[in-house]
């Protein structure tokens, strides 16, 4: 299985290459990618340099252009695809059908991967993308169990990439406008979820309150570590119950299931975290690389080291196990 690693900056990109990535994925510094955060992502020149660095070490570069083209502004997305191809991206990762059609028409030789944002969660959906756009690989939404993935892999003529470690969307990716509802900034159109520009913390008595737009996302009593107010990881009241309505502030870690994923027919494991610093990327990539090649005896130690790197140190296998549903 390939190891697909995140880079939000040129420095993180080099660290990922050096730490053992098979491919590094990244995006341009604009709304064309789903991690459009201030201070992150690549200019055209930075991407050119990064691709050369990776290629010299036999590492691939995937360029994520995985938001949905806003009507009337398609040129921004078209240019991103044209430039990624011209700069030598080994694959473009796309979510929008209109943009896929553009890429296929203008750049028929370019390898096309389907972003998790396209929400291809079953065999007929993947066939649609393979037959219509000649997609070579699909990144599966975090809605499937390992058994579901194994069954799917047998039915499709397309490589499968899955998320193995890092942040976890609770909702089907690319089909969530919760953040847009609260802030007006759309994950699908603007590439941001729960944007920092709309986050506020305020002290209320002994509690620290985190807010997104006009909404309280959490309240932390004195002594409890305060987390970032990602909307779907907030604490809410439902009738008389108070708690994490959608998901606890956990991150995904399926490294205990490497062999099952390999057996299921997965071609590539993806690490989430383009918003992470270079030190985090270096550490996670290098431990994951060793975990992938390690024997059964060594692996538990590596897996527990990864757990320590997770946000809040609480992890879940998410939808990969049926009971999560």
């Amino acid at each position: 299985m390939e190891l697909i690693c995140p880079a939000g900056t040129p420095a993180a990109f080099r660290e990922a290459v050096d730490a053992g990535a098979d491919a590094v994925y990244c995006g341009f510094r604009d709304e064309t990618n789903a991690r459009n955060f201030p201070g992150l992502n690549f200019s055209r020149d930075e991407l050119r340099t990064a691709i050369a660095y990776a290629r010299g070490r036999k590492v691939m570069t995937f360029v994520a252009i995985n938001t949905f083209m806003r009507a009337g502004q398609e040129q921004l997305w078209h240019q991103a695809v044209d430039d990624a191809v011209a700069l030598g991206a080994d694959a473009v990762i796309l979510a929008d059908f209109g943009l896929m059609a553009y890429a296929v028409e203008r750049h028929p030789q370019q390898r096309l991967h389907v972003s998790v944002q396209a929400s291809a969660s079953n065999a007929d959906a993947v066939r649609f993308l393979v037959e219509t756009f000649a997609a070579k690989r699909v990144v599966l939404p975090r809605t499937l169990t390992i058994a579901d993935i194994a069954r799917l892999a047998k039915q499709i003529d397309c490589e499968i990439e899955v998320f193995a470690f890092g942040g976890l969307c609770v909702m089907a990716e690319g089909r969530c406008s919760l953040s847009s509802y609260a802030t007006g900034k759309s994950p699908n159109m603007n590439g941001v979820c729960s944007p920092a520009s709309h986050v506020r913390y305020r002290q209320d008595g002994r509690e620290l309150v985190s807010e997104l737009g006009d909404y309280t996302i959490n309240r932390f009593p004195a002594g409890e570590a305060a987390g970032y107010p990602t909307l779907c990881k907030g604490r809410f009241d439902i009738a008389e119950e108070r708690g994490y309505a959608f998901e606890d502030p956990v991150s995904l870690d399926v490294m205990d299931h490497i062999e099952a994923l390999r057996a299921a027919g997965v071609s590539a494991l993806k690490i989430e975290g383009r918003q992470r610093g270079k030190a985090y990327v270096a550490e996670v990539v290098s431990v994951m690389r060793r975990a992938l090649t390690a024997g059964a005896a060594e692996r538990p130690a590596l897996v527990s080291r990864l757990k320590a790197l997770s946000e809040g140190q609480k992890t879940t296998t998410g939808a990969y196990e049926k009971r999560w549903r």
């Binding site: 949905f68 009337g72 398609e74 959906a125 219509t132 809605t143 509802y181 609260a182 699908n188 309505a245």
Partner: protein
């Protein structure tokens, strides 16, 4: 000439009931729509959760018959999230066996319906004219655009695709997200695989409040909806002028025939938007209205026609 240069009055359409209603309630709802609502097109069926199908299945045939006898066009919705083999089989069966048009709400339905006339629902990501064009080339004849689209996008997409009928989500709580996990079951201490159909207890959704007791969202099984009810009322003339051919009303647990009569009056110009808004608040009380998505702002916001400013 594009349709936008020759605006005709849009027709009303009724989206599928997103909630789990008991079979008889579901049937009686459509009987009343058939008898009383000025709606030309009705999409029925289960879009949200495959586990719920048996509640409505015994009544589907009689509902279709009643609606068609009343002169309404009927379509069947496909599931919005298809992950299990059983769910894939359900969509394949629907496409294979149905003699009614199908509204595709996920990519598997788009695949299976290729080359045959169909419609595309609001849960498929159509954000630009190129995507609409691609879907139309594969057989889509009408597309209900995603509720989060601002007017500028609606106008652009419609203008670029004069041969396609476009529909806009004008009334109802907005479907904001869908998950493999059932937050509704989870809120009552259950999991999806053993949910006891608990979402049946909340036929208009289960309110999610912030810790400061501000109503925010609504749970509907695996779907998360807005607390607010999207209400595009003052925007209807603009939508009609842009060439939108259908106005979708999404069923809430209220008198939807009355909602339809009201929207019909607004489209006909026999009732002012301001008057209609007050009447609508009487028909569907206790839920604030929103139109922020349409105006490219916070989705939950209500932008007042007079000032263009956000009202709270």
């Amino acid at each position: 000439m594009t349709t936008s240069m020759n605006p005709s009055k849009p027709a009303l359409s009724l989206g599928p009931v997103y909630y789990l209603w008991d079979g008889p309630k579901w049937r009686d709802f459509y009987f009343r729509i058939a008898d009383e609502a000025p709606i030309g097109h009705v999409t029925i069926g289960e879009a949200v959760c495959s586990k719920r199908l048996h509640f409505i299945e015994p009544h589907v045939a009689e509902v279709i018959e009643r609606l068609e006898n009343a002169g309404k066009q009927v379509s069947l919705t496909s599931l919005a999230l298809v992950t299990l083999e059983r769910e894939s089989q359900l969509v394949r069966g629907l496409v294979r066996d149905s003699c009614h048009p199908i509204e595709a709400n996920d990519l598997s339905a788009l695949h299976l319906l290729a080359g045959r006339p169909h419609s595309v629902g609001p849960l498929v990501n159509v954000y630009n004219g190129a995507t609409a064009r691609l879907l139309a080339s594969r057989g889509a004849t009408s597309i209900c655009l995603p509720p989060e689209l601002p007017m500028a996008s609606v106008r652009g997409i419609v203008t670029e695709n004069p041969g396609v009928g476009f529909e806009v989500f004008a009334f109802g709580r907005v479907p904001l997200a869908i998950s493999a996990r059932c937050a509704h079951a989870r809120s009552k201490g259950l999991i999806k695989d053993n949910c006891q159909f608990i979402c049946r207890e909340d036929p208009d959704g289960l309110t999610v409040e912030t810790l400061d007791r501000q109503p925010f969202l609504a749970l509907n099984g695996v779907q998360t909806m807005s607390h607010t009810c999207q209400a595009l009322i003052q925007e209807l003339p603009e939508l009609a002028a842009a060439g939108v051919s259908r106005i979708r009303l999404s069923p809430q647990d209220c008198d939807m025939a009355a909602v339809a009569l009201l929207f019909d009056d607004i489209i006909a110009g026999t009732r002012s938007p301001r008057e209609a808004q007050a009447a609508l608040a009487g028909i569907y009380p206790n839920k604030p209205f929103s139109n922020g998505f349409h105006h490219g702002q916070i989705g939950a916001a209500w932008i007042s026609a007079e000032t263009g400013a956000e009202a709270k």
